[in-house]
Amino acid sequence: MDKLTDKYLRKRKIPSTACSGCGLGQAHKAMVVAIDELGFDFYDIIWGTSIGCAGRQTFATWKGDNFAGTHGRVYAIARGLRLAIPVEKKLVLTVGDGDAFGIGFNHLLHAARSNAQMTVLVCDNLGYQSTGGQYGWTTPAGVKTDSSPYGMFEPNWVQTEMDILNVLKAAGATFLARHVSMDGRPLVESCKKALQNNGFSLVHCVFPCITNFGKNALGSRNTVNMFNWIKNRAAPLGEEKEDTLWRTGIYHDAINTRPEFSQLMRDKVSEIQRRYQDEGSH
């Protein structure tokens, strides 16, 4: 990642402050590779982050502008910011599963509704790991965490019949994909598609947390075991097996089919402005 690091990332934040073995870097890197392959420069992109591992570890890594919202609110900040910044700038958000699907879910849905341009990379470590490892909205059934000591028995949002990506699709998102962080090329391709959408894109990417999830769910902090545990439970869409937890690939591709929020606002406002200027000149 050396060349990419020089081009896009801040030296101060390399190496990352993440725990050893953390898979967040794979997801983060995939997005940076996608940005590079699309030919963006660092000042073309404003990088927003949330709270939790995904947000804290990626904040201030981007060489250009960075902002970090309070828990769950970065989508609302991004929507206001979208109106004020030049249309050609892209917003990329790296956020956690608790931030996007829990505390910030209402704001996320409204960002999808409005189709505001933002590429949201939900880096999912399967629960609340930065607070020590409590269950979240994507924690697999049966998994023990500090707050599900008898095993996760609540329904979660990656079950086939109640997939959160379906909710986001119904809410108006124009690009949706799901991956695991070790997906490599397919993950990069999904990030590229997401970035090419002048609208709301979300890539859901599961990554391994060794320190807390690994310890609680698998009973050890063995990095290889944790990586394999996730990898073995992921399969491309259409190739699912019985024990598949994460079906990977593009779930919904309607890129550039709906007006983008800030473009719509700009068009409407200039139309209203013209109308009243015309009336005023009569």
Binding site: I46, D65, G69, R73, A76, G80, A84, N106, Q273
Partner: protein, 374 residues
């Protein structure tokens, strides 16, 4: 709009809805944006986003919405975002009475978010005309101090109708005392100096300054850090950029303080309107009564309380809020009294009865729900 506001984010709530509606009509005509949010928390975040992108942004709400501003308000203080927030007080707690005035937000606007280690700027107009002037002033101060400024209004101000005089030329604006400040962008890289300096441009995203802003304790460049020293530096700035430049913020109205009045009535916002009539009429009767009306209520204008007198704080709440500040600021041997009413202004008749009691040395003792002691 006179101050250059070009972004407004709101969520419908009585009695601040009229402001949102008016902005939805008028902002697009000058090229500005009205955004309706999914809740108040989002409304203030949308306004923050617009300000972060270089726009002059505002949001308005009432008490039940203002508590949802707690989250973004803290963020805006910490990242030093210029922003104007209006809180039109109704009667609380919780939903209370929607269409009637209260003043129960006095401390809520001083401590709008958690964590402490900050000062806030709050302006409290008492009329439609002054609400216009103070909104312009709030935009001005928010730019100079890089912080959200709250306009503390109430239901009578945002829901009422009054004749106002709107300036049209620059001379007229100046004659009315309006001050203006353009938005500039901080060039970086040291966005958060550990000093009490004002007039430093804020962080603006999208202009190539490699800006950093976050909810975490910042280094001077804006990197996240958790050290006691960095947090102390940041807190020093949050507190003392405001405390050390209080003279730029302070404004007030006083009446009849020059002849050692027996009673000094203290009131702000719409409660001060009937107080002023009552004080003027009491003077006509020969009673030595004066009045202090803080317009900038935070930082609280301690310096106005120099005289030993019987102070009477008249407020639209029953629990006695501003009276605590009066008690703290007044000379130690002053008598401190409280008159509280909520949902309606105190009448001139009620105030005169209270003045008479205090002048004759009676206590304003209260019994039962209608009259309780403070």
């Amino acid at each position: 709009m006179l101050a250059g506001c070009n972004a407004f984010a709101g969520y419908p709530i009585t009695p601040a809805t009229e402001i949102a509606e008016a902005m939805s009509v008028n902002l697009p005509r000058i090229g500005g944006y009205y955004m309706q949010a999914e809740d108040e928390c989002a409304a203030m975040h949308l306004a923050i986003g617009a300000s972060l992108g270089g726009m002059k942004a505002m949001t308005a709400t009432s008490g039940p919405g203002f508590i949802l501003y707690a989250d973004p308000y803290g963020w805006a203080i910490g990242c030093e975002i210029p922003l104007v927030v209006l809180n039109s007080q109704r009667v609380g707690p919780v939903s209370g009475i929607t269409g009637a005035p209260g003043q129960g937000e006095f401390y809520n606007v001083r401590y709008p978010t958690q964590g402490g280690n900050y000062e806030t700027i709050v302006l409290a107009p008492n009329s439609a005309q002054e609400a216009m002037l103070m909104t312009v002033e709030a935009f001005y101060l928010s730019e100079r101090f890089r912080t959200p400024v709250t306009i503390l209004a109430d239901q009578l101000i945002t829901d009422g109708f009054e004749d106002i005089s709107v300036p049209e030329t620059d001379e007229e604006k100046k004659a009315m005392g309006m001050r203006f400040m353009e938005r500039k962008a901080h060039p970086g890289p040291e966005f958060y100096p550990p000093t009490d300096e004002i007039d430093i441009p804020p962080v603006v995203l999208g202009v190539g300054t490699k800006a950093l802003c976050s909810d975490w304790t910042p280094t001077e460049e804006g990197y996240d850090i958790e050290t006691v020293e960095a947090q102390h530096k940041h807190s020093y700035r949050m507190i003392y950029k405001i405390r050390n430049h209080k003279d730029i913020i302070s404004r007030h109205e006083t009446l009849f303080l020059d002849d050692e009045p027996d009673i000094i009535v203290v009131a702000y916002g719409s409660a001060s309107r009937t107080v002023k009539t009552a004080v003027k009429k009491a003077r006509e009767k020969g009673q030595k009564i004066g009045m202090i009306r803080p317009i900038s209520v935070w930082p609280f204008p301690d310096e106005l309380f120099q005289y030993k007198a019987k102070y009477l704080s008249v407020e639209l709440d029953y629990d006695g809020q501003m009276v605590r500040e009066v008690q703290r600021a007044a000379p130690g041997d002053s008598e401190i009294h409280f008159f509280g009413k909520c949902g309606e202004l105190p009448t001139v008749a009620e105030l005169h009865e209270t003045f008479d009691k205090l002048l004759s040395g009676e206590q304003l003792s209260r019994i039962g729900w209608e009259r309780e002691a403070w």
